[in-house]
Amino acid sequence: MKASRIGIYASLILLALLFALPVVWLVWTSLKLPVEAAAIPPVWVFTPQWSNYVDAWSDRGFASAFLNTVVIGIGTVIVSIAFGLPMGYGLARSPIRGKQAIGIGILFLRMLPEMIFLIPLYGIYRSLGLFDTWTGMILAFQIITLPFAVWLLRGFVEGVPVDIEDVARVDGCTDFQVLTRITMPLILPGIVASAMFTFVSVWGGLLFPLALGYSHAETISVAIANFRGYSNFQWPVMAAGAIIATIPQILFFGFVQRHLVAGLTVGSVKG
């Protein structure tokens, strides 16, 4: 028994090293001078160059991309929750037809490659003047985030016992009042989690902003993608930029940890 316990911990430590080492390396590289970062064998002792973070942040467009992403992320969250919450509630509670179909539709949407939307959207945005605008980006992201929010929120609503709502109904509340006064406060943590998931998918989303944004609506992922052509001379700045870009995700992840599985399996028929 004892031996197997040690074996389990040893394996976990080994796995943890495998998963963590690349990240440690990234942090480490972000603090070096270019010459040190390109040295083999690696330089183990060096003076941390915090200025790399300043350089990455002040690298053309990086800071504005960061702020764009915050704005687009918040905008996307507002639209997705505003439309998604009533829809999720309706799907969970109301005796309307076609619920099953909508569930399948959401799974189906997830299967479609982004490219099937990107090219037509690019054409549409060109003619409507939505290219490289915050509005255009927020609308485009709804394709991914709205179905996602609907499905998640539906699940949270279903977690609220119907009895509580029925009591309120007996007291004369309409469904709208039931939603705003009874259910919403109860699923607030769920709403927050859905909002964070939405925000994180905007934060990490690459293809939509790559094709539909440029400078005004350039997001952090595109700013990172623009590092691609850099050579090893810019490794430390690239690493610092990558870390800056990941910090918000780490912060938000703390909040959504509990709901991760629900988030990862959005559209799952088992709900």
């Binding site: 390109a38 290219f131 094709a211 440029y214 623009n226 691609r228 052509g229 050579s231 090893n232 001379f233």
Partner: protein, 452 residues
Amino acid sequence: MRINRRLVSAALGLTAGFGLMLGGGASAEDAFNWKQAEGQTLRVLLDSHPWQESIEKRIPEFEALTGIKVEVSALAEATFWDRLTLGLSSGEPPFDVFMLSPNQTGFTGYQNGWIEPLDDYIADKKKTNPDYDFDDVYKYTVNGFRLPTADGKAYGIPISLETYMLFYRTDLFAEQKIDVPALKTVDDWLAALAKIDAAYKDKGIAAVAIRGQDPTMPDELLAAVADYWGERPFMAQRMFYFDENWTPRFTDPAVVKGFELWAKLLNYGPPGVENFTWYEVSNSFAQGRTATIWFDASVFAGILNDPKQSTVVGKVGYAAVPKTETGHATTHWGWGISMAAKSPNKDAAWLFIQWATSKESDLDTGKATFGPVRASSWAKLSQTFPPEFTKAVDESFKMSVPGYMYFDGAREVADRIIDAVIRMKGGEDSKTVMGELNDEAAKIVKKNNLTK
């Protein structure tokens, strides 16, 4: 083919004098004024390049001179072309001024009317500084930007001129007792490379740095093919690869040999050379990890001689492309700067373009690029460049042809060319690879309705 730089500059000095006299006679209202677009904001898209670094440092000067605010974005070349194409085709380009070359992106922009022709601006005395002296800019470089023919309109003003040549480490070649001036042919050089490879490979220095799977590699590959092509004629824009009936010529012995040479050189490269872009090519040499650079831009001289970027300053040798058994030639290429046809700030854009290509600017950027575009700058700067560099560049230009390939489908053909070279580097038989490339190229030109 090649114009004597000094003669041209002398003749042009005269013309410039005339321009000045005529300009002086105009009334004050019609006179050129740097402040004519004061208060406007200009969005400028640049490729990460020594020219960009050099001009960007001086943008505050432009802002002070004109009262125009400039927002610059600069991208690594691998992303630059994709972003430029996307931005231009968006209908409302998110930039007013951008770097451009006479390549497929330029041609697509030309065909769609996305790029503004600049001749009217140059001729307009109100819009153009009387000191601008456009004729001082090498005519053959300007002609490159006259899409799609040399007598068409100018869709860009040249900013940097580069020819494809060789760089080598003088210390390593001396250590191996290789007499570089005696290396006359490609075969001589290959023998020298074998020696270098044997001596330094284990010390972490590869014999060759050369572009690999980089979207721009086909431009440099043209130099290798040109070197084998000989005196035979070929059509501009289609280059060596298609005849007048759009029949592909990838199985032509000269083309095959050029490709084979490239694949051979890749095999002398450091690990991962297959993915090298020009940034890696110049960096690996600047960091002392490669002993030569093949068929690449004279502009590298600026990087290699900059102590901030290079550890091999003072150990850089220069050579023109060596001759082959069937010919001796190289190619050149130029960056230019252009205006978006849909730009709302065209006058401001033109002020920026003429400022960035003025005599003073070119003299300054020329120090960084080692490839000024004005005869007056070359006359001054060539005195300051390493003599061996100047000699190699002069030799190169004597045998150089413009290396611009553009037609509908050129980018697709270029991508197939990259595939072919990388496959040959991986050891695939050149006959099969080039045969397949020929078939694919035929299909591409047919698909683009160039042949029936």
